[in-house]
Amino acid sequence: MAHTVLVCDDAIFMRTMITDILTQAGYEVVGEAETGAQAVEKYRQLKPDLVTMDIVMPDMGGIEAVREICKKNPEARILMCSAMGQQALVVEAIQAGAKDFVVKPFQPSRVLEAVQRVLG
């Protein structure tokens, strides 16, 4: 069965791009979230195998969302999507429980590599 993924990003552009990359590689994108708060709620509902998480989002940032999700689901597998220049935040996200990160702009091969690493 295909692995399920929740895609979290406030930009529809990025959500579309990530969804396309993952879908073409055979993953099943089961949900999308535009804010950190939505990400937490959708994770609870959907229990996906993997979450891709943007860092800068309205309402609740991505790092806080990672913290919330991992508090209740230590086994959650979250891949951070960061822009260039956010290295320090990536470190913070990984401390909060994220498993790995990719840097935008995305190259499909890099994204898929990271996804495979996270799903182990």
Partner: protein, 524 residues
Amino acid sequence: MDLDRYTALFLSDSRDHLQRCNALLLAWERAPGSDEPVAELFRAFHSIKGSSSALGLTPIAELANAGEQVLSAIREGSLSPSPEVLDGLFRAVDGLADGVEAVATRASLSADRGLLDALEGLAPLPLEHTGELPTHERRLVERQRVSTTVVRPPGRQVRVELERLDSLLNDVGELVVARNRLAAIADQDIGSDLERVSSRISGLVGGLQTGVLRARMAPVDEVFNRFPRIVRDLARSLGKEIRLDVLGAEIELDRSVLDGLSDPLTHLIRNAADHGLETPAERVAAGKTREGTIRLRAERAREGVIVTLADDGRGIDRAEVQRRGVERGLLDPGAGLPDAAALLRLLSHPGFTTRHAVSEVSGRGVGIDAVLTRVRSLGGRMELKTAPGRGTTFIMHLPVTRAIVRALIVGVGPERYAIPFAVLAEAAVHDGEEAEVSLRGEPLVTVDLRATLGLSGEARRRRPAVVLEFGGRRTALVVDRLLGQQDVVVEQFAAPVGLPAWVGGVTIMPDGAPALILDPAGLF
């Protein structure tokens, strides 16, 4: 990768962001103490940076990044939002908008070095281009954590290309014509299976038509929201103080009507700011507030929407317009001062004021013909009100959609004509003895359509007349026959030179014959 699809997403997303940035910057400029807008502005720049770099649009990404740095510095407290800084951000938004539109038109992109340098002068980029900017971004995240912003639950929406809705609407238009034809045939056999099926189809087509038209509706705010920025820039460059009040931004219009409204409104707003409103010194001398007001308002009306643009400036000098009109041979020297309708006719005469210094007549003539032509091509009409020293108001009556209108079909001689319901008040009878149609004892300004069309031959003595209401007055139009009401599909056509002013459009009747749609403003 499906690049076109991403580009379309990038364009619509970025335009939304930039429009929002303008609104946020304007609010910020009015209340510079608040740092509320910073987080949202930052996200907008950040999002554009991300998607533009994903598409390899480096000049846009660079500019977004430079703007992001400025916002970070403000957030960090190392830069204060001075007028100079806000100007820089306004310019960044403009630069990004230029870039986005260049992508839309497939023009070549180039980096605006001057602008980048100016922004970097405000907030230097970190030493390494991709280096650390952790502190301020972390703070941004921290702030978001404690913020209690209530986010509107997103309604499930899809973005649809307007062309697809256009083609859907075209098909529905054809379907409406075919349905009307079918109904005309079926009605010859009342009670038959054919008539029953036809009536069922009529109901379904009606529902489909309503649904498609509703899908095309957009709030006028999508056009109005660019005006605060335009007015601000105009006020600055003209050295005037101008307030723009916007009312009814939530009122909805068909996308095509709305898009068509953008240019004429921009034009009228420029005119109002430039020529209608006085300088602060002139206003004070005239006993007015220093700040002039432009009021833009949309409201629902019977069968349509009224958009009003009013300024509280000096008004139009009727005597001057009259003098100019006589000079150009457009007015009889003996005629009195032009009334509002005559004024609009004179001002919209192509090139009426271009030969002279425009300010003498508030420059109202410049481009008014273009505005009027556009409003008419949208199926609307325009009125003008002006009072010396008190200001000028343009009133645009617009159809909610220009594709399908409900109309009364009338017959004159061998031809049929459609009169839009929007202007109909009631029906009356014209007794040939009298020159005018009287309604409850009150004589109305009356036009006989036979005379307008130049038809010869004796008409019956008693004939039907329709009472029309527009421009705040009632008039009567005498015809030969009233043939009933119908939804008519307005066909797009290129108006030939010399087309009479009373022709508002053309439609196809259920039997396949064309019929003209009347524009009553051109009849009286």
